[in-house]
């Protein structure tokens, strides 16, 4: 397998749950290569294995069979400790439910991965401040998640995912809990990041979100059934493309 140019690769990836007759293939013989700088959207109906695939790519779950490579390093054989270190350096997660720490402010949430990665408090704070500014939340840095709207919370989560300059951002239904305006805000940020060369794997069931990607993979019953190259950023602007403009 050529792993040199790919940010993320999967080969013969299988994940099963249960045993015997109740055995279910959540992910079934999936091969995938995501080059650096690409925004890949994975679509499919609920329960088709999208989120499981994302967890496998980020090392949150271990595959039953197959290989996963991140930044040229095979990760499915790593220890939990090494996986954690890999996530610090190479992977940023964005979840549908945001998964912010409720008792920490927006800035403190964003700082957290930097502190876990061993950065000094000052460095972590500076980086958090920069990213919150970038996602348009500089004024809300001291707010708790409960004091923010859904869109703002997701923007905090995006800033948090980026704080350690990850190679790839894995986003699981990032707009699933958001209204139209908030979805637009999030997608604009993703668009900016893609333009800056950030690699994304976005799991979604929203076609409008998928339309902003460079590439769209469709999943059904744990398998890829389609793999399409898209145009990516639309000349009419993001809102026009996804039908969110007034």
């Amino acid at each position: 397998m050529n792993v040199s140019s790919a940010a993320v690769q999967a080969c013969g990836l299988v994940k099963t749950h249960g045993q015997g007759q109740s055995r279910v293939h959540a992910v079934d013989e999936v091969d995938l290569e995501v080059p650096q700088g690409q925004m890949l959207a994975v679509m499919g109906p609920s329960g088709c294995g999208k989120s499981t695939l994302l967890h496998l790519l980020g090392g949150l779950e271990r595959p039953t069979d197959g290989e996963v490579w991140v930044a040229g390093r095979r990760i499915d054989t790593l220890s939990e400790r090494a996986l954690a270190r890999m996530r610090r350096r190479s992977v940023g997660f964005v979840f549908q439910a945001f998964h912010l720490v409720e008792e920490l402010s927006a800035a403190e949430n964003v700082e957290l991965p930097a502190l876990l990665a061993g950065r000094s408090r000052r460095q972590a704070r500076r980086r958090a401040s920069l990213l919150l500014d970038r996602v348009g939340l500089a004024a809300r840095a001291r707010h708790l998640p409960s004091q923010l709207s859904g869109g703002q919370r997701q923007r905090v989560a995006i800033a948090r995912a980026l704080v350690n300059d990850p190679l790839v951002v894995l986003a699981d239904e990032p707009t699933g809990n958001l209204d139209t305006a908030a979805t637009l805000e999030v997608l604009r940020i993703f668009e900016e990041l893609r333009s800056a060369g950030q690699t994304f794997v976005i799991v979604t069931h929203d076609e409008r979100v998928a339309a902003t990607a460079d590439r769209l993979v469709s999943m059904r019953d744990g398998m890829f059934v389609d793999d399409t190259r898209l145009a990516g950023s639309h000349p009419r602007g993001l809102g026009g493309l996804i039908g969110l403009e007034g």
């Binding site: 967890h55 400790r81 549908q96 439910a97 998964h99 920490l104 502190l115 408090r121 409960s146």
Partner: protein, 596 residues
């Protein structure tokens, strides 16, 4: 009827689902009520044993003792037999003060009573093995014989002469071993002594051959056994000095050996109850969100608040009452051994009194209700829809602590932040730790006290039974306290881990290793334990000073500090396993559960 069936079914279903919590609750309430019942019952049990011995040995109502001897004393004592209030008597008889040595060279002071070969109507010692005195053979009091390790057929030496032990007996005329000498030679103070009986002629020969000190005594049976005080008052003016020891006085004297036992058990039961409350509170709080969702579900299908409160409280109340019953049974079974540390009394300690049962039951109910009332009220008051989606308690934002912890290494950072999430739980953990340290400090103090043995000249060849009994009791209470506190520590670590699972899962997605999470959870418990360990030392010293009688020696400070450090180390070791288990739970699963 339908509601009762429903409540029972819901309670049983919940009990089946939470077996570990049920076991912890039962354990906590059982040890607390057992110790409380034991502490409250001791006095009654001691009195009962004395009364049973008195009945079996025709114990005198009054023993008249004179420190002097001679014909005048003998006739003064004999004159008491003619008193109209006296219905029967035994004596006057000699009490000879000597030293007794066993074959293995254990020596002890002994008082030898010179008795007839056929006991009279009053003070008929009950022979529990062997036979009654005969010329050349002696009988040892059972408590004394047990302490000496001497049985029928052995030989003991008194005043250079060897006597075969022909029997072992008990009496209610004297206090239990080692307070058999009710009066010293010449009416002075007496030392720890055992009791032996010989024939009158043997006692006379013993006294005269070695010029040993002798006093005289006479046992009296009164017309009104309760009127001992009036009898004593009526014979206060006399040319010959006579001391009157009533049966009530002897019964009270029996309690001397248990003087420190009662505070050990009662204070121990307070501490155990406190630990039981903290443990049950930790369990109840840990399940608060689940119980609120359950209440929401019941409300949604039409249950009234009263029924919901009944369902939630009944489980804890029923379990507390089962624990109470178990505790009372344990107390009933162990009270004879604890109330009678010597073998000087016979009989069976009485059953627990109604007051004891009521006290223990109130304690058990209080533990259950006080620990579960708040979560129950919360569940009752929460609106149905809100209740159905109730989540764990949301911690407060603490900016200064978050900023401070950002300067620390990851395990400490996580530990400090976990600690800050639940201040109430910190208090519970600190209290548990303080209780352990209090118990250890009290134990160290007890072991550090100098002690006079019951052997000759205070020799430790015959151990101080009271000190030994107190140490054993304190050790037992300390073990119970430590066991309960350790269970609490594990429970608190586990509930902390369960409650922090979403946050810890997020931390893991952000790059925290399982080792860091595990260390963070252990650190959180250690940080919570630290104030308890520090406060436990002065609290232990303070508690001992309140309940200790007389002077006591403070153990070296290094011992106390070592106890606190050992407690912290044990806490760290104990939290390691639940923390490690919690840290190894799959991240994706925890995140999915949070989303659901």
């Amino acid at each position: 009827m339908g509601s009762i069936v429903l409540v029972v079914r819901l309670v049983l279903a919940d009990v089946r689902r939470h077996k570990v919590q049920v076991a912890i609750l039962l354990l906590a309430v059982t040890v607390a009520t057992a110790t409380m019942a034991l502490g409250v019952s001791l006095r009654g049990a001691s009195d009962t044993l004395y009364e049973q011995t008195r009945a079996a040995t025709a114990g005198p109502d009054v023993v008249a003792l004179s420190g002097d001897r001679g014909p005048a004393v003998t006739s003064a004592l004999a004159a008491l037999a003619n008193d109209p209030d006296v219905v029967a008597h035994h004596g006057p008889y000699r009490i000879v003060y000597a030293d007794l040595t066993t074959r293995d060279s254990t020596s002890s002071p002994v008082v030898v009573h010179g008795f007839a070969e056929t006991p009279g109507a009053v003070n008929r010692p009950l022979v529990t093995s062997g036979q009654w005195v005969r010329p050349g053979g002696m009988v040892l009091e059972r408590g004394f014989a047990t302490a000496l390790g001497v049985g029928v057929g052995d030989h003991v030496t008194i005043a250079s002469r060897s006597y075969p032990v022909v029997g072992i007996a008990v009496t209610a005329a004297t206090s239990i071993y080692p307070w058999a000498a009710q009066i010293g030679p010449g009416g002075g103070p007496s030392d720890y002594s055992g009791l032996a009986w010989m024939t009158r002629s043997d006692a006379r020969t013993l006294a005269s051959s070695h010029d040993l000190p002798v006093t005289l005594a006479m046992d009296l049976k009164l017309r009104d056994p309760a009127a001992t005080e009036a009898f004593r008052e009526g014979h206060r003016v006399s040319i010959i000095r006579i001391n009157f020891h009533s049966w009530q006085f002897t019964a009270v004297q029996d309690m001397v050996i248990l003087r420190d036992s009662q505070p050990i058990l009662v204070v121990g039961s307070w501490l155990l109850s406190f630990l039981a409350s903290t443990g049950v509170t930790a369990l109840a709080v840990g399940r608060a969100a689940e119980q609120t969702r359950r209440a929401g579900l019941l409300k949604a299908v039409g249950a009234a608040p009263g029924l919901i409160a009944t369902v939630l409280l009944t489980e804890y109340l029923a379990l507390a009452l089962v624990g109470d019953a178990l505790g009372l049974v344990i107390a009933r079974l162990t009270v004879p051994a604890i109330a009678s540390p010597t073998a000087s009394r016979i009989g069976d300690a009485a059953g627990l009194t109604g007051a004891t049962v009521a006290t223990a039951t109130v304690l058990a109910v209080a533990v259950a209700v006080l620990s579960t009332l708040r979560p129950t009220l919360r569940a009752m008051r929460t609106a149905t829809v809100t209740a159905q989606s109730a989540t764990a308690y949301q911690p407060r934002h603490r900016p200064w602590l978050t900023a401070l912890s950002a300067l620390l290494p990851t395990p400490l950072l996580l530990g400090v932040r976990l600690t800050a999430r639940r201040p109430g739980r910190v208090v519970l953990q600190a209290c548990s730790t303080a209780t352990i340290v209090i118990a250890i400090v009290a134990l160290l103090i007890r072991f550090a006290q100098p002690e006079r043995g019951y052997g000759l000249d205070g020799s430790a060849a015959l151990p101080n039974l009271r000190g030994e009994h107190d140490r054993q009791l304190m050790l037992a209470v300390a073990i119970l306290l430590i066991a309960l506190a350790l269970v609490n520590t594990i429970t608190l670590t586990w509930t902390t881990a369960i409650e922090a699972r979403p946050s810890m899962a997020i931390a893991r997605t952000l790059g925290a290793t399982p080792g860091q999470i595990s260390a963070g959870l252990s650190t959180a418990q250690l940080l919570s334990s630290l104030p308890g360990a520090i406060l436990g030392i002065p609290l232990g010293l303070g508690l001992f000073s309140i309940f200790a009688l007389g002077n006591w020696t403070v153990p070296p400070f290094s011992w106390l500090l070592g106890a606190a450090l050992a407690t912290l180390l044990a806490t760290a070791a104990l939290t390691a396993l639940p923390a490690r288990l919690a840290a190894r739970q799959p991240v994706a699963q925890a995140l999915s559960a949070e989303t659901a």
